[in-house]
């Protein structure tokens, strides 16, 4: 097959010029922090895995309190390779969020958010929240006991937000309690609403990355910088990583299949030691540490507001830390290290404590 002729044919109709230029021109700087450049692509790749396995699961999954659990049981037992697709979907969700954290913090510490890349950072921060939403909504879909109570606790916490808490709780739950209505709603979020928002944000994010090119961390001597062509060199290296990721996912799915658990029962009591998935654990653990009342206000509310404030600050980082080399700059780096250590510490404590 003459690929050249095919490409010409398409080019005549679609215009592959800009794409070709990107392929030729895009370069990746080579320095001691180059390795972190891989994680954006890894996150994207794992997202593609999620979309693919998710779409496949949609062929058999049935949302609804009376059918969700059974349909996943069906996928795990009767559908050919259903166990593989489902376990990959569950594992890849976790790996994706892990890759996302690495990508995000590496961008933070290398201060890639500096002008003109502020919007890249903002869109990325919003993507963080959306992805956490994917995780939270997807976790409920098997309708098992752990998920049921995790959702109950999580939405309870959302309900403590002052003023809007009541509305927020009902909006999330589709009612006052966690019921089949919550499941249907979460399903809608997970397969339609969040993917729609993600598409928009991702397009913006990736476009901006291509527009501005890869950022170079400060402290790297730009005059003596070596670079590498994105196509095919960096991309092939990316590909190695992605292929290995597939291997890791396959191994995890085969050796540590994702549990199904017991079907949710609204009248049963919560299982002991209930806790959320690891990516929420540090917040959960923090809330547990906060005293019941601080200056007359509910400790939980203080915690929620603190995290909300933290989230907001996180989004607007590029607008505060603008000038390199200043004290602000160093403060932000230090703060970032504290945040990372805090998250890791709290997560470990959440498991061990």
């Amino acid at each position: 097959m003459n690929t050249g002729a095919l490409i010409d044919w398409i080019d005549a109709r679609v215009g592959l010029g800009p794409l070709a230029e990107l392929a030729h021109k895009k370069e990746v700087p080579l320095h001691r922090h180059t390795i972190w450049y891989y994680f954006g692509g890894m996150t994207l790749f794992l997202f593609v895995v999620q979309v693919t396995t998710g779409a496949l699961l949609l062929l058999y999954y049935r949302p609804g309190a009376e059918s969700a659990f059974e349909s996943i049981q069906f996928i795990m037992t009767d559908v050919q390779f259903g166990w593989l697709i489902r376990s990959i979907h569950s594992w890849s969700a976790n790996l994706m969020i892990a890759a996302l954290f690495v990508h995000m913090f590496s961008a933070f510490f290398t201060k890639a958010y500096r002008s003109p890349r502020e919007l890249t950072w903002v869109s990325g921060a919003l993507l963080l929240f959306i992805v956490l939403g994917f995780g939270f909504s997807g976790y409920l879909l098997p309708w098992n006991r752990l998920a049921f109570f995790a959702t109950k606790v999580g939405t309870d916490i959302a309900g403590t937000v002052p003023l809007a808490g009541g509305f927020l709780l009902r909006f999330l739950r589709g009612g006052e309690d966690v019921t089949g209505a919550t499941l249907t709603r979460f399903f809608g979020f997970h397969v339609a609403i969040l993917p729609g928002i993600t598409t928009v944000l991702l397009v913006v994010h990736v476009f901006l990355v291509q527009k501005h090119g890869m950022s170079t961390p400060e402290g790297i001597d730009r005059t003596r910088l070596r670079t590498m062509r994105f196509v095919p060199n960096f991309l092939l290296r990316d590909l190695i990583g992605w292929v290995l990721a597939v291997g890791v996912l396959a191994a995890l799915a085969a050796i540590f299949p994702w549990e199904l658990g017991e079907k949710a029962d609204a009248f049963a009591s919560a299982p002991a030691g209930i806790r959320p998935e690891w990516y929420f654990l540090f917040m959960f653990q923090t809330l547990k540490f906060i005293p019941a009342k601080i200056l007359g206000v509910d400790g939980e509310v203080i915690g929620i507001l603190a995290f909300a404030l933290g989230g907001l600050l996180w989004v607007i980082v590029p607008f505060i830390d603008r000038i390199p080399g200043t004290r602000t700059s160093r403060v932000f780096t230090a703060a970032g290290i504290v945040v990372v250590l805090y998250i890791i510490g709290m997560t470990i404590y959440g498991y061990v404590g």
Binding site: S67, F74, F81, L84, V246
Partner: protein, 158 residues
């Protein structure tokens, strides 16, 4: 460039035949990439092909067929992970209950002579509304909802 004195069988094994090596590598890459893609798409393809049992067993079960359940008879069927009893009464009505006796959890049966549900373990008796009317059982049997879909009898939770 040294002369290509090597035979073509040993592609890729000479330091001075970069073209051959490259072609060998490409060949190897292509075939193994192809194999990997097959290893990825084969399960996906099998996944998408419908399995033998077409649907998940839900909280709605096909308990049997009307044509196979004579009047004044009962049958035990699987409901979720518990047994259920499906009864077709003398007048042709369909009733379904949990078949787990409320006394000591033996499995009940239908008695066509007495037209009642009966537990063999300690002579517990239930009427056709599931109410415990004789013997040790302290509570009625849980009743299920019965619907028919053509010849199929579908039982679901109340």
């Amino acid at each position: 460039m040294a002369d290509s004195e090597n035979s073509d069988h040993k592609l890729g094994q000479t330091a001075d035949n970069p073209n051959g090596r490259r072609r060998f590598l490409d060949f190897l890459l292509a075939t193994s990439a192809g194999a990997t893609l097959v290893a990825i798409f084969y399960p996906i393809f099998r996944f998408m092909s419908p399995p033998k049992t077409v649907e998940a067993a839900q909280n709605s079960v096909s308990a049997g067929k009307m044509s196979e359940l004579p009047v004044n008879s009962g049958k035990i069927f699987k409901f979720g992970n518990k047994p259920g009893i499906l009864v077709r009464t003398q007048s042709g009505d369909l009733r379904a209950f949990s078949a787990v006796c409320t006394h000591l959890e033996c499995i009940v049966q239908y008695s066509s002579e007495k037209k009642q549900i009966w537990c063999a373990c300690h002579n517990g008796q239930y009427n056709l509304n599931g109410q415990n009317i004789g013997g040790p059982p302290p509570r009625p049997l849980e009743e299920y909802v019965v619907n028919t879909h053509g010849d199929d009898i579908i039982v679901s939770k109340a």
